[in-house]
């Protein structure tokens, strides 16, 4: 038997393997460190409350829940969620049908009005509604004058929250239900009509069934939105779960019984509802959808309402909705250019327009109780000249842009792994979807309590809720909260990559990195940028999370806007807060609108459209330069071009 001496094998790690191992470690760290452990800590808080003697009483907070008034918050939130499901679906479905399915005059304008909530939402929208419908608001004053018996305080509490959120939460209907309706094969409608079905029967028996999956998802999402409502109940005064959690989180044991444990219990109750609803949703989604079997889909043709009475009624209803949507937007824009006096009186002064709510500073002179006049220097300041507002804008801009980008990067890397490793990819996918199961408030509350410590080894014993560290904590929370949405959207774009493209690149000798950067990334980039922009839009004006963290080191833009409602004009301070609030809303609408245009308008162009646009610009440039050149040269050039 012949033996040959073999050189000892050199232990060599392939760079790809090393990157994969590091990636897996990162995701494990992210999931356990910033999703599971902080939330489990919140759960344990419920059962580790101590009585006056310092003994642990695991059931104290549960007993408190049933004995005290905590149940009220849960019931109120459930009531709001249930009512919202009805009102949002009625308004949302009718808006979509009126603009997409029925032939209503001026549908394009109506659609624009109904879609304003895409750029005008959250705190900005609530403060706008307050501006109009508050006890001394313009619309309320008009209504009280018209109906003297009417309660001027009608816009507060449950009614106000329901009204505001009904119109604020139809954005998803305008996006997703609209797409679903536009995806209907018109041949099916024609077939039903041909078989003798009347228009309403066609709508009920042919169109609606195809919309049921979308409607179901929208209903669940609306219910969750209602349960987790934050800015509207806070600003309009309604006792629901989320504002109570934030209040308890900031309370101390000296003021009331175990506030943190109660906040934790409410968060867990909220999480339980969310988990049940989302489980129902995914079980329903797994059942499958109605898919069009048509190979040649026909574009939907708008249906005329043949009954004249119904037609008039539909038009009136459509335009009333339009007025409800548009009035706050128009009023806010108009009043943002008005003086503080006009804004305070809520009366339009057409002879006096100003840019002071946006730019510049002015002194404020006022009469004291002693009859003397005082001047508060620089008390009137524009949006971009007010330190607090500008600070909020800068901070929100920075934190949002970082978190939006981080969420996208993490998800792109994860999706690349998920599509390559089907089995282990599932675990990664579920771990990134985990924050979807939890209400935002639970995640933020958990962060606030868990990372408010020097003993967390995996963040190198840094207290992340201490001074400027809170900014890092907010970025983390923002990122984690946006992961599920980013994953769902970006994963869908990965499906668009033809597997043969990867094979082709491989066959032409490209490395996995080159294949990813040169072939796959450019394909998914428009979707990634869209998700980035939507993440940024959401975070830039978000209120719930930063309010939960409630730190002077992390005062977000939305919190600044919210604070503008509170101390306006008190002792001559903050005198044009309402004007700045209007200006802020206009600013937010411009930023959001611009981003949506960049993403869906310019960013969605494919290469062919970009080349066409470039050629058009070249031609225009040539035409302009031709104006300055002798005609013979131009003629020669034109000949060349043709």
């Amino acid at each position: 038997m012949q033996h040959t001496l073999q050189a000892p094998k050199k232990w060599r790690v392939k760079p790809e393997k090393l990157v994969r191992v590091l990636g897996v470690l990162f995701f494990v760290y992210l999931f356990f460190g910033f999703m599971l452990i902080p939330c489990l800590n919140t759960l344990t808080q419920i059962f580790t409350t101590k009585d006056a003697a310092g003994n642990t009483d695991p059931w104290a907070v549960i007993r408190f829940f049933f004995a005290g008034s905590m149940g009220k918050y849960v019931l109120n939130s459930l009531k709001l969620a249930l009512c919202l499901v009805v009102t949002v679906n009625v308004v949302g479905v009718s808006s979509v049908l009126l603009t997409e399915y029925f032939d209503i005059k001026g549908a394009k304008i109506l659609r624009m009005g109904y879609m304003t909530t895409l750029i005008y939402s959250g705190v900005a929208l609530v403060t706008g509604y307050l501006f109009l419908y508050d006890k001394d608001g313009m619309i309320t004053t008009l209504l009280v004058n018209a109906f003297p018996g009417m309660n001027p305080n009608w816009f507060s509490g449950f009614n106000a929250v329901l009204f505001t959120m009904t119109f604020a939460c139809t954005s998803n209907h305008m996006l997703f239900l609209r797409n679903a309706i536009r995806g209907i094969d018109y041949n099916t409608v024609e077939a039903a009509r041909n078989l003798g079905a009347k228009p309403f029967k066609v709508l009920w028996k042919v169109v609606f069934p195809t919309l049921i999956p979308t409607m179901f998802s929208l209903t669940i999402m609306t219910f969750i939105t209602g349960l987790c409502a934050m800015s509207a109940p806070t600003l309009l005064g309604f006792d629901s779960i989320n504002p109570e959690i934030v209040r308890l989180a900031g309370s101390s044991i000296a003021d009331e019984a175990f506030p943190q444990a109660r906040a934790a219990l409410l968060s867990i109750i909220l999480a339980s509802f969310t988990i049940i609803l989302l489980t129902a949703l995914s079980a329903y989604e797994r059942k499958g959808h109605y898919l069009s079997v048509s190979k040649t889909k026909a574009k939907l043709v708008k249906q005329k309402i043949t009954n004249p009475v119904a037609n008039v009624f539909a038009h009136i209803y459509a335009y009333v909705l339009f007025i409800i949507y548009m009035t706050p937007v128009v009023m806010i824009v108009v009043f943002s250019f008005q003086t503080y006096g006009a804004i305070r009186m809520k009366k339009l002064d057409v002879s006096n327009w100003t840019l002071l709510n946006f730019f510049g500073q002015a002194d404020y002179e006022y009469l004291t109780s002693r009859g003397t006049t005082k001047t508060r220097v620089g008390s009137i300041s524009g949006l971009f000249n007010n330190d607090a507002t500008l600070g909020g804008i800068k901070l929100s801009f920075l934190l949002s842009i970082l978190a939006a980008a981080l969420a996208c990067i993490i998800v792109v890397v994860a999706c690349n792994y998920i599509f390559k490793h089907k089995k282990t990819g599932v675990a990664l996918e579920y771990s990134l979807l985990f924050p979807w199961l939890l209400p935002t408030i639970l995640i933020c509350y958990s962060y606030r309590t868990f990372f408010n410590s020097d003993d967390i080894f995996y963040v190198f014993n840094n207290n992340l809720y201490f001074m400027n560290n809170v900014k890092f904590l907010i970025i983390l929370a923002y990122t984690v909260v946006r992961l599920p949405f980013s994953l769902r959207m970006i994963k869908a774009s990965f499906y668009a990559i033809d597997e043969e493209l990867e094979d082709a690149a491989k066959n032409l000798g490209a490395s996995p990195l080159r294949t990813f950067t040169k072939v796959k990334l450019p394909i998914i980039l428009p979707s990634v940028l869209a998700v980035f922009a939507l993440n940024f839009n959401y975070l830039f004006t978000e209120y719930d999370m930063s309010a939960t963290f409630a730190s002077s080191y992390g005062t977000s833009y939305a919190m600044v806007i919210q604070s503008m409602c509170q101390d306006e004009g008190l002792y001559g301070y903050n005198i044009n807060a309402s004007g700045r609030r209007c200006a802020s809303t206009v600013f937010i609408m411009i930023v959001s609108g611009l981003i949506l245009y960049l993403v869906y308008g310019i960013g969605a162009r494919d290469l062919a459209e970009r080349i066409d646009a470039r050629n058009r610009w070249k031609k225009r440039g040539k035409r302009i330069s031709a104006l300055f050149r002798p005609s013979k040269a131009v003629a020669e050039e034109e000949e060349k071009l043709t």
Partner: protein, 339 residues
């Protein structure tokens, strides 16, 4: 040029390819033909390196490439979907492989323009996005991209299947001309028998992960070695036992117990009986008009016989017409009946 020796490919418990043996000669246009799921694309992907066989070897120019990475095999591929990179211009698509090889810019430019010229792509088209080209032009880009790196062979996976019928015929001819011009060994996958017959120097007919027959188009069509090949290539009549018995009386080589077939174009209409031809009385049931020829369905009592006749525009038979249907024993393709 390419040798597949005893290739076995398994996907879990499922064996996709059973003992595949193929020898493709240099410069040959070789086609893998078969129905969906028969293993032709799997064989192609084994050659290109996307699939590693469980057993067997792949040789290219006498070099064992069974375990050689895809990018080192020097095999160009034209994919079914063309797999053109949608975010790159036509020029960048063609130049991709050259850039990966880190060639100089001037060299890349020269090679791209040369190959573009050969496949009839203009400078203007090179600047366009691939989505701005027609299906036929896209196919040319895919071919140019595969050829520009000067591979030893080129593999094409149903590259005409996404095109409409007329363009398919036009590009089929162009493809053949291009292959002759470049003189490159080509392996072509298709389920379209007409495409295989018109394009190929030789054809391998696949069925259920095995090769049923390898031969020239004529050998495969007129000398189908198995009943599957005979049935798969072209339309054919399976004669019932009564006709087979009649034929057996005329020609002792024919067994009535066999499965006896005759191709449509070999069925003779209105011919007198001879010692080799069985003539049956038939009535035209229906006809299909193809322009160049007409296909008749003729009831001969116990079965319907299909026959085609050149469309001369004069001697057309109407449904209900009585005809004499002649079956020549010399044209029978016989296969033993399975137990």
């Amino acid at each position: 040029m390419i040798d597949l020796n005893h290739i076995v490919v398994k996907f879990g418990d499922f064996t996709a390819l059973h003992d595949i043996n193929v020898h493709v000669k240099e410069g040959e246009f070789f086609t893998f033909l078969g129905p969906s799921g028969c293993g032709k694309t799997t064989t192609l992907r084994t050659i290109t390196g996307f699939i590693e066989p469980a057993e067997g070897t792949v040789f290219m120019k006498d070099r064992d490439i069974t375990h050689v990475p895809i990018e080192e095999r020097s095999i160009g591929i034209v994919f079914q979907s063309y797999a053109l990179f949608p975010t790159m211009t036509v020029y960048d698509n063609i130049a991709f492989g050259l850039k990966v090889k880190k060639l100089k810019k001037t060299e890349i430019d020269q090679k791209v323009r040369l190959i573009a010229k050969k496949v009839d792509l203009t400078d203007e088209q090179l600047k366009k996005a691939v989505s701005q080209l027609s299906g036929g032009q896209q196919q040319r880009v895919a071919i140019a991209r595969a050829l520009v790196t000067e591979p030893a062979i080129i593999c094409m996976d149903e590259p005409l299947s996404n095109l409409d019928a007329k363009l398919r015929v036009q590009l089929r001819n162009e493809l053949k001309a291009m292959q002759k011009e470049f003189g490159i060994t080509t392996i072509y996958v298709t389920h379209d028998q007409e495409e295989a017959l018109t394009l190929s120097d030789r054809i391998a007919v696949f069925n259920k992960g095995c090769i049923e027959q390898i031969g020239t188009p004529n050998e495969v069509y007129n000398g189908s070695q198995t009943e599957f090949v005979c049935n798969f290539i072209g339309d054919i009549n399976l004669l019932d036992t009564e006709i087979s018995a009649e034929l057996a009386k005329k020609n002792s080589a024919i067994l009535a117990t066999n499965h006896n077939y005759i191709r449509l174009e070999r069925v003779q209409l209105n011919v007198p009986p001879t010692d080799q031809v069985v003539v049956l009385d038939g009535v035209v049931e229906s006809r299909e008009y193809y322009g160049l020829y007409i296909k008749y369905y003729i009831n001969v009592g116990h079965q319907t016989i299909k026959a085609i006749e050149k469309n001369d525009g004069i001697n057309l038979h109407e449904p209900g017409d009585k005809l004499k249907v002649g079956i020549d024993a010399a044209h029978i393709m016989a296969y033993p009946a399975e137990a």
